[in-house]
Chain length 695, copies 2
């Protein structure tokens, strides 16, 4: 439990300072300014008083129980201080000091040292090299942080890997007038982790939505499990930076831990139903909508506007989020005629025109609330100076309070004028999320609707397959490993595929021309012959592949030719396989991802993967729904259905193939890389015709 | 000249009102509030005084000269009033009243009426159904508008089709602290047009950048010419809404003039070097950077940050704009070691760390300014409460004032605190563009850099081709037209292609089997035979196409078969053409675009155009550089260079083909649609093998 961290009744400041421009002073003033209800104990070796509070020399001297200690001292003194905390019975520490794992081996050793002592005494560690936490509960007002933004109480909880981004999200939410519940930024995160914090937010009844910033996870599997659990209860809005190679490099430079562009984090978001953002401002503005509005039940938006152009912009953005701006029913249009001016446009958007009064807005709002074909309402409200803007705001609030459908408002005004500040205040007090331009407002509504879709999507459980012989597959791998080989032979690869019921084009491994010809007769012509030799890596380039051999004589001639050309390179075998021309080439790949399991890739083979890079990934295990999504989400999905008179491929067989691969990977975690390239897909069947496995 | 509109020395308000919540009152108060330096003459049939000013009954009564009149009266009285204005010598009118072409035939007739009278008297008309203009020149302070935002003087001029969007751009610029020069929103735009206003801004020495919002142009060719002229002098930032089908529908509903998604406007932006935006907030924030910063000379950004995460986000965004965050030189790193703290990261980003002082920032800035490998500087500045933030701001301003390289600043702070407002004030007064989060700041720098690239791009003049026989082509078209045909025959199409030197696979039109066989012998085998008959539209579906005929006998048999099957449908001819297998299929298409000329399309044929819709468009005439861009900008451009061991195609021949097509279209404007599908491209040549022209 993280209560000692988030709900401390008494806090010691180890390294309290009398210098105004210092962290050990700012933290105490923040606690005071925010109105912390517990006891604050500054520790300072020389001063008697810090920020008007009695200062102590050691933890021992502090009269009462201490739940939490801030540690703001040079890194080399931290291990001893942690031990002192343990002895005093301190339950959690926030180590603001830097100088640990982010600074190389010496720092890492210090971190290991204090962590060991913390474990011994049962002290939980937040940080080091971090900001801290905030709990806005008016009963506590715990501002254990050196930032400068003082959030109002609310229902959004924020957790950020980067303190800088955490602070700017907190500031953005504050600027938007959104209250917050918890805030946490845990720096090096040597003990208390982001997943643990997200779970704590998930269990907190006051937290309605979680906002998360990360640059990747050191413990992705743990996060995946927590995210699945929490996002079943409340929305998680998340942003992962370091999406580009140079961005990832910048991230690894400041966190000292991660490297390379990881796509796994986005896939975790997708798998667990987290709403993913690439713009921190957009995420904060979306949070404003989540703070007060219900989730739309569908994707049909009604637009009410008192100005033309902003409705056009809003429509463009809403449509790009997959939303629809449908026609209103005849009944609704007739009803609108009773309430609207002659020059109003009674379509969707409803243009109530610039001179519209509160009654005109209300008439339009009532219709949108009652119209069955509308799931959410977007309002453009420009404060035309020749209208009673307060009354318009009051009408919007009255309808919004009914909570029937989500409303967002693009509120276009000049907040430097008191008159319009009052109008804004009416909307804000009424819980109507207001934005300064139509794109921002439409993106926020788009986020609400996207979350509605995510929530309705149940990926289900991975499918079980009868007749899978995992013991046989394990045995094949064990034998290869014992033989010291990391790349499996063709025979091994196909044996494993067969053990998992993966359809493989008829094949045989043969030692010479006679055996190859006999195998070809058995398999049926035409066949392909490939040399199978540990020493030969790029078979094609070496002339080790011959396709479309139509009779036994050609097979014999081919094998003899390969023997004469390549025999000197090593022991040759000859892989004979049914040749299957005319199908659609597909590719399925997989790679083990650090601590997470396997990523499974699907795409069309050939130029589609090589030139267009048109592939999709999922984290194994892949469910039936996820397999469907894989087929649907490649850009060239239409090719699977057949174009230019061709027949489409057997998509159900491909989905099953993906799921069998997923099961194989889940049961054989020692596989590092696997690919099936190509898979030949036909209208009524699908075969793997080449495979590679590395353990 | 629009001086009477933008620089009026005396203004009459026809329809001045004593009612506070009315446009005829708001406009007078706006003029007064903004400090208009000229004379204001309210006209009101009953009141003696409006807003403290003497009111007049008629224009005649006004003692002095009137440059500009606002007209805010019911539409039916407008024609007579315009005539009165003419008689009084009023040079321009702003018709705020609605009820004209946007309301159907009756309104359109009124509009035609007043426009005729205006022309008679030489009165220029702005509107109707519009807001008005603003000129912030402190010598004039003309606020001829009913909006509520009062811009400071500055160097950005705004023009918007939609008053709602214009007002919100003006508000966004004002909120960002950006001064403005002119503002104009001209509603129905029956006389003074957006191109005319843009030209006026272009000629205005005080306007440094133009910000434009539109939903399309009624006079695209005029705009293209003006834009070319003005964007050679100063940046034009533009946004076109109605990008989606539903958005375009919303646009046509409020402007009453346009319909359908037009791609031409974006192409005009591209051709004339206008910087195009899809987000109005992003455009306003970009304008802030254009208002004070020089244009970067290249795409290499140096990042200075006092917090980690925001630098990661900024890097992601900058890279997505095509910018580079390169390593610093050894010399720069050595120099940084002298000024930075031990824990600073001396890479790019330079992380000066949270406790950095003004001197640390200055050290990093000086290095970035002197580093030859850096063209622009991005700063993340979080106002850590334990640092002297004013001093940091002063150092940034000092370096920025040198004007050596553009600087943008992501300034993360809480502006509700006076201390940080002062810091912000230092940056703002120093002309440093400040943004509230890293994505917004990075996008603004991205816009500056994108404009730098646009400015360096000279598309050149269209190429002339020797030996083109345009007279022959015109004759072919004239004859078809005289014969009442809009779809040209194969013979006509290929004759036109040949007249423009467009390489066509050898062909002949023949009447029967014997002629066809003879032609095939002449052309060389293999050939393709296609039935040529006005009554047969879909040749392939009707069995009217036979490919890869390898000898005279097959040609004869094919023609005889077609005669027997299709002869009853109409007079048959047989088009015989060289069959060219194995090349890469390309497609070039063209369509006449209302008032603009032709749009030319290029792409790969087959599934690439049909399934992937992977095509690019340009406005004719297409220059050599534009033709290069067309080949480079399709998503499958890599296929043109050859993949999987194939040879690439003759790209120079394709570029020339595009330019010959462009010339053909420019000289034959009566062509409505044309396509060459497919074109067969090989490593050393390219041939049109099927063509269609509609006039």
């Amino acid at each position: 439990m993280l209560d000692a961290l988030f709900k401390p009744r008494a806090i010691a400041i180890v390294g309290a300072s009398v210098k105004e421009l210092s962290i050990g002073n700012v933290i105490i003033r923040n606690l005071q300014k925010y109105g912390y209800k517990g006891a604050i104990y500054p520790l300072n070796p020389t001063a008697d008083e810090v920020c008007g509070l009695k200062a102590y020399k050691t933890l021992d001297e502090i009269p009462g129980q201490v739940d939490l200690a801030h540690i703001i001292i040079p890194s080399k003194f931290v291990p001893q201080t942690i031990e002192d905390c343990g002895k005093k019975g301190v339950k959690a520490v926030i180590i603001n000091s830097a100088g640990f794992s982010e600074l190389g081996d010496e720092g890492a050793a210090l971190q290991k040292d204090f962590l060991q002592r913390a474990k011994e005494y049962g002290v939980r560690v937040f940080g080091p090299n971090c900001q801290g936490i905030i709990n806005s509960d008016p009963e506590l007002n715990a501002y254990c942080n050196f930032t400068f933004t003082y959030p109002e109480p609310g229902h959004i909880s924020v957790v950020a890997l980067s303190g800088g981004v955490g602070a700017l999200i907190m500031q953005a939410l504050t600027d938007l007038g959104i209250g917050q519940r918890f805030y946490a930024s845990n720096g090096n995160a040597c003990d208390i982790s982001i997943p643990e914090i997200v779970r704590y937010y998930g269990d907190d009844p006051e937290t309605r939505a979680v906002v998360l910033y990360t640059e990747g996870f050191s413990n992705p599997r743990e996060f995946l499990e927590v995210a699945k659990e929490v996002s079943a209860k409340k929305p998680i809005l998340a942003m992962k930076a370091g999406r580009t190679e140079q961005g990832a490099k910048a991230a690894s430079s400041h966190t000292g831990s991660l490297a390379g562009v990881d796509i796994a984090t986005e896939l975790i978001f997708e798998k667990t139903g987290i709403l993913s953002f690439t713009d921190e401002g957009e995420m904060a503005r979306a949070a404003m909508a989540f703070a007060t509005q219900p989730i739309p039940k569908g994707n049909r938006v009604g637009i009410i506007t008192n100005t033309g152009g902003p409705a056009v912009i809003a429509t463009d953005v809403l449509v790009s989020f997959g939303l629809d701006v449908p026609k209103l029913s005849e009944a609704s249009i007739e009803r609108l005629q009773l309430s609207q001016m002659a020059e109003a446009a009674l379509e969707n958007p409803i243009d109530v025109v610039a001179t519209a009064s509160g009654a005109h807005f209300r008439g339009a709002l009532d219709v949108m609330m009652d119209e069955e074909g509308i799931d959410s309402v977007f309002i453009n409200f420009v404060t035309a100076p020749f209208t009673d803007t307060h009354e318009v705001a009051r009408q919007i609030v009255e309808v919004s309070r009914l909570g029937k459908k989500p409303i967002v408002c693009n509120f276009m005004t000049d907040l430097s004028q008191e008159r319009f500040r009052i109008t804004h205040g009416i909307l804000k007090a009424g819980g109507v999320p207001c934005y300064a331009n139509p794109s921002d407002a439409a993106k926020a509504l788009g986020a609400l609707a996207s979350y509605g879709k995510l929530r309705a999507r149940d990926i289900g459980e991975p499918r079980a397959f009868a007749g899978v012989d995992s013991a046989r597959a394990k045995k094949v791998i064990d034998e290869a490993r014992e033989a010291g080989r990391s790349v499996l032979s063709a025979t091994e690869v196909y044996s494993i595929f067969e053990a998992y019921g993966i359809p493989v084009a008829g094949w045989a491994v043969t030692a010479d021309a006679a055996e190859a010809a006999a195998a070809a007769e058995r398999i049926g012509f035409p066949v392909v012959v490939k040399v199978d030799c540990e020493e030969i890596d790029h078979k094609s380039d070496m002339g080790g592949v011959a396709v479309n051999l139509k009779d036994a004589a050609s097979v014999r001639a081919t094998v003899e030719d390969m023997q004469s050309r390549l025999g000197s390179l090593g022991k040759l075998n000859f892989f004979v396989q049914k040749f299957l021309p005319g199908g659609r080439e597909l590719i399925i790949g997989a790679a083990a991802e650090r601590e997470l399991g396997h990523l499974v890739m699907f795409g069309l083979g050939g130029i589609y993967v090589e030139v267009l890079k048109d592939v999709v990934f999922k984290i194994a295990p892949v469910t039936e729904l996820e397999a469907c999504e894989m087929l649907a989400n490649i850009k060239t999905a239409a090719l699977l259905d057949g174009v230019r008179g061709e027949r489409g491929i057997d998509k159900q067989a491909v989905k099953e193939l993906i799921q069998r691969v997923s099961l194989l990977l889940t049961e054989l975690p020692m596989i590092q890389e696997m690919d099936m390239n190509p898979i030949m897909a036909f209208a009524d069947c699908v075969y793997a015709v080449d495979g590679r496995i590395r353990i």
